[in-house]
């Protein structure tokens, strides 16, 4: 997990703002506020937000939603697996919170190019906080494990504020979060 050090170009910030928009939609739908966009060739080609309550499926994280939009579209266009893999390798993900262990693994399976995230995920983070699934290890390099670059701390404050508002609203008796309170179900 690299922390962004002054490399927040206007483009990166603009895409993260779009991801935050998605997180706000989740918030308004009473879902844990995490959102993301997927970018290829400088254009947003998919977006997603957390949908775990609505679906009663706790795996429907923003990343999974955005990935499925793309897969459906690409399969409808009758792209082959090779073409799909090739396109994922040109995709950048902007997500408001560090991908969890599940999503971080999924992004590696797809062979995504690069990930930018807002705040760290102290409890479930799979890009450095708890496990490092974005990197290659000796046990898995021989079976084709794919790594991707991952940069955190892009507009992390905004992402944390959304969580804070969410948990304060949902649970008025909860103690005030003392640190980045991050809990993606």
């Amino acid at each position: 997990m690299a922390s962004s050090g002054g490399e927040e170009t206007p483009e990166i910030l603009a895409f993260m703002k779009l991801a935050l928009e998605q997180a706000k939609i989740a918030f308004e739908s009473l879902e844990v506020p995490v959102g993301c966009v997927i970018v290829m060739d400088g254009k947003v080609i998919s977006h997603g937000r957390n949908r775990t309550n609505e679906t009663r499926n706790a795996t429907r994280h923003a990343e999974m939603e955005a990935i499925d939009v793309l897969l459906n579209e690409w399969k409808e266009k009758k792209h082959t697996k090779h073409q799909v893999a090739d396109m994922f390798s040109k995709c950048y993900l902007y997500v408001t919170c560090e991908p969890c262990i599940m999503c971080a693994s999924a992004l590696s399976f797809l062979g995504i190019k690069e990930v930018f995230y807002g705040c760290a995920n102290d409890k479930f983070g799979g890009c450095g906080s708890i496990l490092s699934l974005h990197t290659t290890t000796t046990t898995t390099s021989d079976i084709g494990r794919k790594s991707y670059k991952c940069t955190g701390g892009i507009m992390g404050e905004e992402a944390v504020n959304l969580f804070r508002n969410f948990y304060e609203l949902g649970n008025p008796n909860a103690p005030k979060p003392h640190r980045q309170l991050v809990q993606q179900p």
Partner: protein, 370 residues
């Protein structure tokens, strides 16, 4: 195969939260620590717990008290993790800790603490010689950890056998998952990998394409149809099927407003007292009317998997709050329940399941049978 035969050759082995280590070789991690003035101890503990809670070292006490030879005591305090290599260039102490060090003029040193919580009194005594830890004998008892009754092991073996059967078709061997409510022995959902499309009609060789064993392999398979999905591993599909069942059997019932996941425990209590009762036709009960309880995700359910799941699937099962996982074959390269990672032992996660390996008689291994 009759019931007795099933049971005779099978075994159920608990896969603990941490790898087994000899008593005197408990793994350690390096931490930064400092000798502190006893009158600052309470304030410092409070501040440190706020700025750096050290989730994975909850079993390690913040403060070590040593009785000195010349009388008097010395208090030392654990501050934060240190770099495991001996390269001092790599030492990064979080800024908030640096501020504390400066404020209280602390002299830091690097020491070792035990990485895993003790699981026995003997381990605890041994660990505390290095740096004190705390020992909590298990307060929960997920049934099975202390052993299975005859009846339970029989149903575990029966469900695992069903999962094995499900994993094979004419052309492929894939991973398979069955979600079961152990309180009723109802099958809640079942699924096979849907990563590669099935090609039974053109291919009669048994391809082994177990998604969790090599999740990067999906793009190397040629596929003419569109029924493939790189992330639809059996466990993920089974979770989806169980949530579909939930929505189908309990449309729009009361839990939708409970969005606070921090409060899921509270919600569970609520659920227990006011069971959402509904008369539904359940497919598992010969179309008779039964009273069903609205589940909260997969709380209380077991899942049977032929192969140990990868990290994606294992974390999905944490999210969906499965109670117990049974798998037959380990996944040496990407398994996340003991082989490579061990999610059941990750303290920071908000849910922990118990994991078991079901040992089969040799001839049941589908890789040997083909």
């Amino acid at each position: 195969m009759n019931k007795c035969e099933v049971k005779e050759h099978w075994g159920i082995v608990y896969v603990p939260d941490k790898p087994p280590f000899p008593l005197h070789q408990q793994p350690t991690v390096k931490v930064h620590a400092a000798v502190i003035d006893p009158k600052h101890a309470n304030t410092l503990v409070r501040k440190l717990n706020q700025i750096l809670p050290l989730e994975n070292l909850r079993h390690v006490k913040r403060v070590r008290k040593q009785v000195l030879d010349e009388g008097g005591i010395r208090l030392s305090m654990m501050l934060c993790l240190a770099d495991e290599s001996d390269d001092t260039q790599l030492e990064i102490i979080p800024q908030e800790i640096v501020d504390l060090i400066n404020l209280y003029k602390l002299e830091t040193f690097i020491t070792k603490v035990c990485k895993y919580a003790p699981i026995s009194k003997e381990e605890w005594i041994e660990q505390s010689k290095l740096w004190p830890t705390s020992y909590h004998p298990p307060t929960y008892n997920i049934s099975g950890i202390t052993g299975f009754s005859e009846e339970e092991s029989l149903s575990v073996c029966t469900f695992m056998k069903q999962a094995l059967d499900l994993s094979k078709c004419e052309c492929q061997i894939v991973n398979a998952a069955i979600i079961v409510d152990p309180s009723t022995n109802y099958i809640i959902a079942h699924a096979r990998d849907q990563v590669n499309s099935c090609s039974c009609f053109i291919n009669h060789e048994h391809d082994v394409m177990v998604s969790c064993l090599n999740p990067w392999q999906w793009c190397n398979e040629n596929s003419s149809s569109c029924s493939w999905h790189p992330l639809r591993h059996a466990a993920i599909v089974a979770i989806e099927n169980s949530s579909e069942r939930d929505r189908r059997l309990f449309p729009g019932s009361g839990l939708d407003e409970s969005t606070d996941h921090l409060e899921h425990d509270l919600m569970l209590k609520k659920q227990k007292t006011e069971c959402v009762k509904k008369e539904v036709v359940d497919s598992q009960s010969n179309n008779s009317l039964t009273e069903l309880t609205r589940p909260y995700l997969c709380t209380g359910y077991d899942i049977y998997l032929v192969w140990e799941p990868c990290a994606m699937c294992a974390m999905a099962l944490v999210h969906q709050r499965v109670k117990r996982i049974f798998y037959a074959f380990p996944n040496r390269k990407t398994g996340a329940l003991g082989s490579v990672d061990r999610l059941q032992g990750e303290k920071s996660l908000n849910h922990h399941y118990a994991v078991f390996q079901v040992m089969l008689p040799q001839e049941k291994n589908p890789l040997i049978n083909i």
